[in-house]
């Protein structure tokens, strides 16, 4: 528009200038706003780029440079009712769980289909917690115990639920595979519980971190957050994790202080 050439001269009528207000105009600066909005819309419609790549978190070495993580799983011998005196009824053996020596020695299907399941939760509070990952420990892993198979076949070595997981050897479940980028889920602490899936019965058995007979005042009615969990801390820089007792806050998992889980017995 060249305004300087507009000249309004006197007439007998009132003079008007019609200025078009047709909306063919837009405020400058909206372009940028639209571009920015476009990104928002695209992110909303297509989803933004999120990094779901996982990294391998290994168990951190102890001061003695030992990297192994040790799990001891205790099963309760149901032959006696659980009391304050039945301390010895927990044992690191599948026989207490009801498997026969032959089941374990010959790797019967119900035995090989059984496994331990470690679940990792965001908190210890059952009402608000979310499970983010699980690790399965197959029963084929672990050390052995010597038992009598039969009078004719004599003593044999069978698997027992005492596992030493490391970089080599038994390593199923040694590593935690978790998001390497913290932008999507920023979490560096999990609470770990254990369950045992019994292939004979097809049910999961919950496990506690303390022998049930030692739980006071009531071994059947206790605060779950104190007796079902171990704490697992992730180190994103070194891609390692460490396990701590929720009772003592001391690091556990080495050969002297293995991570212990005890079969929970219903009243």
């Amino acid at each position: 528009m060249n305004a300087n050439k507009i000249k309004i001269v006197k007439t007998d009528l009132d003079g008007f200038v019609n200025v078009p207000i047709n909306m063919q105009w837009d405020f400058i600066g909206n372009d940028e706003a639209i571009s920015s909005y476009e990104i928002d819309v695209i992110n909303e419609v297509i989803n933004p780029v999120a990094d779901f790549e996982i990294s391998r978190f290994a168990h951190n070495v102890f001061p003695n440079q030992d990297s192994a993580i040790n799990y001891d799983f205790y099963f309760y011998d149901d032959s006696a009712p659980i009391t304050a005196n039945t301390v010895g009824n927990w044992g690191i053996t599948y026989l207490n769980e009801g498997f026969s020596v032959k089941d374990v020695y010959y790797y019967s299907k119900p035995f090989t289909k059984s496994f331990f399941k470690l679940d990792f939760y965001t908190t210890k509070e059952e009402k608000t917690q979310q499970i983010y990952l699980s690790i399965v420990l197959p029963v084929q892993q672990g050390s052995t115990e010597t038992v009598l198979l039969s009078p004719q076949l004599g003593l044999v070595e069978i698997k027992k639920p005492k596992m030493k997981l490391d970089y080599i050897g038994d390593k199923e479940g040694f590593f935690i595979y978790w998001l390497r980028n913290r932008n999507f889920i920023d979490i560096n602490r999990f609470y770990m519980t254990a369950k045992f899936f019994d292939g004979r019965t097809g049910i999961f058995k919950q496990m506690t971190n303390t022998q049930q007979n030692l739980i006071t005042p009531n071994k059947f009615n206790f605060d779950n957050s104190n007796y079902f969990y171990y704490r697992v801390d992730l180190d994103y820089d070194n891609k390692t994790y460490e396990v701590f007792s929720t009772a003592t806050n001391q690091r556990v998992g080495d050969a002297n202080t293995p991570i212990k889980f005890y079969e929970y017995v219903n009243p």
Binding site: V19, I42, I168
Partner: protein, 600 residues
């Protein structure tokens, strides 16, 4: 523009009584606060493919992965008296060794007899000494107490023998001194990389043939019609046109070229005379078309702890696991065991850290098109010492012996990796050597290459090699070679994975006519034009198959390659006939294997 609709314009004479008559104007300001609205400005079609491609092209994050298939032939037997090594060999001369060692005899089910600890035992170091992941973490007396050599830490299982990194070529070393030999002759070259390629005259003017024929110890990269600029001159002329390639031998065209003999005299082209040459594409423009020769230098860009090495599923190579049972009475420690000579496992290498190539340029100042998996011998268990570097043309034997290049006294073959050592109680003060881990920013030599500005192409002339050899203090190979230049194993440290591609055509233009000339283009002062190859976008492969297309997800690129990692023996020594190198080897499997041995 906003105008109040109630605004009225009246005659000037009517503004007030006796108002003068004047012309009236409306000043419309030039200042714009509005613009024309173009249709579709506010309606954008979102294409998932377009958005994906934009993100892909912009991403500079790489997560390279490779699968290593290891090919290794355990070729050198030797002997050792050092107990942890001695007790863990793959024995090759067990009966004779046992006779000397158990000088009072040795039979099963009898208390172990007296032994002569000064008797060395012969054999191969087991495969675990070379494997990518050591699994011998439970060998009492070797990796576990008592009297062990090393207390095995499982966390180091993947770094005891080898360490893995990502590197890229970042500059050129034109001044590296190189050396090569012509196998079977006394011809030897020592030259500086920038001088070009060595040659010797295979058929000279003294043979009175129509052509003068040259032979190189490496591929020359020449084509008929191109030129060579020799290091010598004939009457002041150094440029000669290539008239033919090769002789009658298959593949010889890569190593042999000829120029026309137009009646040259004198000794410049005499048979067996030698020198170096450079490739020139166009004699009329030798300034632009002459090749440069150099050794690439690599920079490490990942930390050693970033590497994640795992078994590649159940994959095994076709050569199988070579193992045998060491019978109790034929071992120095009276223990039956399986010993493994060669393994067959494959491994997958990935990295816990992302590789960001933003801002990185290759050795020609161009965007990176290759990353390298750099694998370095660590040898923490101390069987070896003084690792050497060289190139593939140094791996040829020089009259049945290692080239003098590999001698430990040759400083040009020193690797840029610091060597460390330790001692053990049972080893006394004698040192066990190993290579330190590298860190980000460490530099290493790389392949010997040719670059031509006219071609805009880099050719690998000879691959970079490391040579590892046994520490004679602990493991002695019995032959007549000097201890400073023994046989060893070669491996190629840098294995590439392609992450992008340059076009197979060359662009040429001036800045006045062409927009978007890349900053890495070569400017020819002769033609006053830029020359360059276009960088293909990720996911584009041209009809000739040039280009890359690998997964892009999580905002990162996932290039993958299969790598065959060869650990190649320099030559075979003779297991039971050390005195006569080159004689027919005695069959080391003369001890027949029992149908059922003690290991079962």
């Amino acid at each position: 523009m906003i105008v109040d609709p109630t605004t009225s314009i009246i005659l000037s004479t009517q503004r007030y009584k006796s108002a003068p008559r004047v012309d009236q104007f409306i000043n419309v300001p030039f200042a714009q606060s509005t613009k024309t609205l173009t249709e579709y400005d506010r309606s954008v079609d979102i294409s998932l493919a377009t958005v994906f491609d934009e993100e892909r092209q912009l991403s500079t994050i790489f997560r390279p992965v490779t699968k290593f298939a290891i090919l290794f032939e355990n070729a050198y037997t030797g002997s050792t008296k050092y107990v942890p090594f001695r007790d863990n060999l793959y024995y090759t001369n067990a009966i004779i060794n046992a006779q000397d060692y158990y000088y009072q005899g040795n039979t099963m089910a009898v208390q172990p007899p007296a032994t002569d600890q000064n008797i060395p035992w012969d054999g191969f170091p087991q495969y675990s000494e070379f494997d990518f992941i050591r699994t011998d973490n439970d060998v009492i007396g070797y990796t576990q107490p008592p009297n062990n050599h090393v207390t095995f830490k499982n966390v180091s299982a993947t770094t005891y023998n080898w360490s893995h990194y990502i590197s890229y070529p970042y500059k050129n070393n034109f001044n590296k001194t190189l050396s090569a030999i012509e196998p079977g002759t006394n011809i030897q070259w020592s030259w500086v990389a920038s001088s070009g390629l060595p040659y010797y005259v295979l058929v000279g003017n003294d043979k009175n043939t129509r052509q003068i024929t040259f032979k190189c110890p490496m591929t020359h990269g020449l084509s008929v019609g191109e030129y060579v600029q020799l290091s010598v001159n004939y009457n002041g002329n150094q440029l000669f046109q290539v008239s033919s390639l090769g002789t009658t031998g298959s593949g010889s065209e890569e190593y042999i070229f000829s120029i026309s003999n137009i009646g040259y005299t004198g000794n410049v082209f005499q048979t067996n005379s030698k020198g170096t040459f450079k490739r020139v594409i166009n004699a009329g423009n030798s300034g632009d078309t002459i090749s440069e020769y150099y050794v690439r230098q690599h920079k490490i860009i990942t930390k050693p702890e970033c590497a994640v090495l795992v078994n590649a599923g159940f994959e095994r190579n076709i050569y199988g696991n070579k193992q045998k049972c060491e019978i109790k009475v034929l071992t120095p420690n009276q223990k039956v065991r399986n010993s493994i000579k060669e393994g067959d496992r494959s491994y997958t290498l990935s990295f816990n850290c992302d590789v960001d190539i933003n801002g990185l340029k290759d050795n020609q100042g161009r965007p990176l098109t290759e990353l390298f998996f750099t694998t370095i011998w660590r040898g923490y268990f101390g069987w070896t010492s003084v690792m050497r570097e060289g190139w593939y043309f140094n791996t040829y034997l020089q009259k049945g012996k290692p080239q003098t290049w590999w001698d430990t006294t040759n400083a040009n073959a020193n690797v840029n990796i610091s060597e460390n050592f330790y001692t053990t109680p049972s080893g006394g003060n004698v040192k066990f050597y190993y290579n330190d881990l590298l860190n980000t920013g460490s530099t290493l030599n790389g392949d010997f290459c040719e670059w031509n500005n006219f071609d805009q192409f880099e050719r690998v002339i000879s691959t970079y090699q490391h040579k590892i050899k046994y520490n004679e203090n602990w493991f002695t190979i019995k032959n007549k070679l000097p201890t400073t230049n023994q046989y060893g194993y070669f491996y190629q440290p840098h294995n590439p994975v392609q992450i992008a591609s340059f076009s197979d055509y060359i662009e040429e233009g001036s800045s006045a006519n062409v927009v978007g000339i890349p900053d890495y283009a070569y400017y020819s002062t002769t033609t006053a034009l830029f020359r360059w190859r276009d960088l293909y976008p990720y996911g584009f492969i041209d009809p000739n198959g040039v280009g890359v297309d690998y997964p892009f997800l999580n905002g990162a690129q996932y290039p993958f390659t299969n790598t065959i990692f060869r650990i190649t023996p320099e030559n075979y020594n003779i297991p039971s006939d050390y005195a006569n190198i080159g004689s027919v080897p005695v069959n080391i499997t003369t001890i027949t294997d029992p149908l059922v041995d003690e290991c079962e």
